[in-house]
Amino acid sequence: MERHRPSRETWAAVFAAPFLLAALYPLQKHIDERTRSLQQQKEELVLNSGKLLEKLSLGYGSLLADIYWTRAVQYYGERVGLKGAQFDLLAPLLEISTTLDPHLLVAYRFGAIFLAEPPAVGAGRPDLAAALVRKGIAANPDEWSMWAQLGFLNYWYLKDYGKAAAAYIEGSKHRNALPWMKGMAAKIEEEGGSRQASRFLWSQIYETSQAPELRRNAKEHLQALAAEEDAEHLEKLAAEYHDRFGHYPSSERDLVAAGIIPGEPLDPAGFPYRFEAGGKVRLDPRSPIRSEVLQPAIHR
C-alpha cells in the first residue's frame, strides 16, 4: 500500500516556497539599484542597421517591424514633456521599422511630425524627417498621403513654400488623393504661410491620425493657432482702446470696463490673456499653450 501522507521533502518544499519567492523581490530590487549605479544608462541601440536586422529576421521582418515601431512609440512617450529631453534614438528606431516593413505608413507619419518638432516635443531634425518621408514615398509610390506629409513638412517646419506647393501638386495627381490638395498647393504658391492653411492642415492631421500622440500634438498646434487669432483680434481692440483713452489697456478688465468686449475671453486652455507694454497680447504664464509668437516676456 502506498503511503498517502506526503513525504518530509514535500512539506519542506511547500513551506519554503512562499518565503523564498518573497525574498526574491527585495533582492532583485537591490540588484537593479546596484547595476544601475554601476553602468551609465547610455542610450544605444545594440543593432543599428535595418538591413542587418532584416536579414537576421529570417523572413519574419514584418513582425519585427511592429516590435520596433512599438519601441519607437514607447521611447517617444517616455520622454515627451520631460525637461531637456533628447530624442536621439527616434530616427534610428523609425529607420529600422521602415526598413523592416517599408509599408508601415504610420511610422513615416510619426517621423514626419516628431522628428521635425523642436526639442521637448521632438528631435528638432526636420532634415531627418524629410529623408524618412522621401523613403516612404519611394517605397509606397501609390500612397498620396506621403506626398501630403512632405508638403506639410516643407510648409510648417522648413518654411519652404515652393517645395511645399510642389509636393502638394505631386500628391494631388494620385488616384485617391483628397480634393483639397490642389487648392492647397495654389494657396501656398500665392500666400506662403497663412493661418487659414495652417489650421486646415493641422485639422487634417488631427482627423486622420489614429496614433494618440499625433492627435494630441495636432490639437496643441490648433490651440496655439486659435490663441494667436484671438491675440490678433485683442490687439486690434487694444489699439482702439489706445485711440480712445490715450494709453493701452493693462488687462482684459480694462476693455470690459470700456465696454469694448462683453466679458473676459480665455485662451483655449482656459487662461486669460495678458497685456504687455505697447498693447501686445501674450499668454498667461501658467497657460500650457505652446506658441512662440505669444510667449510672455517673463520666461516660464
Partner: protein
C-alpha cells in the same frame, strides 16, 4: 491504401504524444495579443495581429515539422517497431510515404486550428473581415507548402542519420534556403566568376524557402498574384518529389539489423 493506414497511425501517435498541446500556447498568445494590442499600437491592430499570428503559425509549424520529422523513420528503426510492420504485405516506400503523409496531416490539422484562433483574434480586434484578408489564407497555404518541404527534408535525413544530425542538417538547409538569394548576390559581388557560378548554381539547387514568405503582404492586405500561387505549388511538389525519391531508394535498400 497501405500508405493511408500508416498515415492515420502516424497522426494518432502525434496526437497521443500530446503534440497538439502547442495549440494551447498559441491560443494564449493570440488572446493576449488581441487584448493588449489596442493599448500598444492604435491604428495598426489588424496589422500586428496578422503579423504575430502568421509568424507564430510559421515558427510553431517549422519546429514541429523538424522535431517530429527527424524521428519519423529513425525512431521506428531504433525501437524496432518497424520489424513486425514490414513483415506485412506493405512495400517500404508505402511505409515511408505513409509516415510522411501522417506528419503532414498532423501539421495541416494544427495549422487549421491555429488559423481559427487567428481568425477569432482578428474578429475581436477588427470586428469583421475584409476581402483583403483572403491574402492571409494564401499566406497560410504557403506556410503549409513550406512545412511539407521541410518535413520531406527531415524525413530524408531520418532514413540514415541520428535525430541530432538530422535536425542540424534540416535547419541548416532551411536557413540556407531563406538566404539563398543573398548567397547568390554575395557570389556576384566577389567578382570571381567561379564564385559567382557556384553561388548561382547553389541558388537553383537549394530549396528556396524565401519564395513562400508573403507574411508582410498578407499583413498589409495586398493581393497575392494567382500565378505565384500556382508556381509555388509546382515548385514545392517538384522539390518534395526530388527529396522523397532518394529517401525511398535509401530506405528500400537499408538493412534493418
Amino acid at each position: 491504401m497501405h500508405t493511408w493506414v500508416v498515415a492515420i497511425n502516424t497522426f494518432r501517435e502525434a496526437v497521443r504524444d500530446r503534440v497538439l498541446y502547442n495549440l494551447i500556447f498559441f491560443s494564449l498568445l493570440m488572446m493576449g495579443a488581441a487584448v493588449l494590442v489596442g493599448g500598444i499600437s492604435i491604428g495598426i491592430e489588424h496589422l500586428v495581429i496578422v503579423n504575430l499570428g502568421l509568424t507564430a503559425i510559421s515558427i510553431f509549424g517549422i519546429v514541429m515539422a523538424v522535431f517530429i520529422g527527424v524521428g519519423l523513420v529513425y525512431k521506428e528503426i531504433d525501437k524496432r517497431t518497424l520489424y513486425a510492420l514490414l513483415a506485412r504485405p506493405i512495400r517500404r516506400w508505402e511505409f515511408l510515404t505513409g509516415k510522411y503523409a501522417g506528419l503532414l496531416l498532423t501539421l495541416a490539422v494544427n495549422t487549421a486550428l491555429m488559423t481559427v484562433g487567428l481568425a477569432m483574434a482578428l474578429l475581436y480586434v477588427s470586428h469583421g473581415f475584409l476581402r483583403a484578408d483572403f491574402s492571409i489564407l494564401v499566406a497560410i497555404y504557403f506556410i503549409l507548402l513550406e512545412l511539407a518541404l521541410i518535413t520531406a527534408l527531415a524525413l530524408l535525413f531520418s532514413c540514415f542519420c541520428s535525430p541530432m544530425i538530422s535536425t542540424i542538417l534540416t535547419i541548416g538547409l532551411y536557413i540556407a534556403g531563406v538566404f539563398s538569394s543573398d548567397i547568390r548576390s554575395f557570389g556576384a559581388l566577389t567578382g570571381s566568376s567561379l564564385a559567382g557560378g557556384i553561388t548561382s548554381a547553389l541558388y537553383y539547387v537549394l530549396p528556396n524557402f524565401h519564395n513562400f514568405n508573403v507574411i508582410a503582404a498578407a499583413a498589409h492586405g495586398e493581393a497575392i498574384p494567382a500565378a505565384l500561387i500556382v508556381q509555388n505549388t509546382l515548385y514545392a511538389m517538384a522539390y518534395i518529389a526530388l527529396v522523397l525519391f532518394p529517401a525511398a531508394a535509401i530506405f528500400s535498400h537499408r538493412d534493418l539489423k
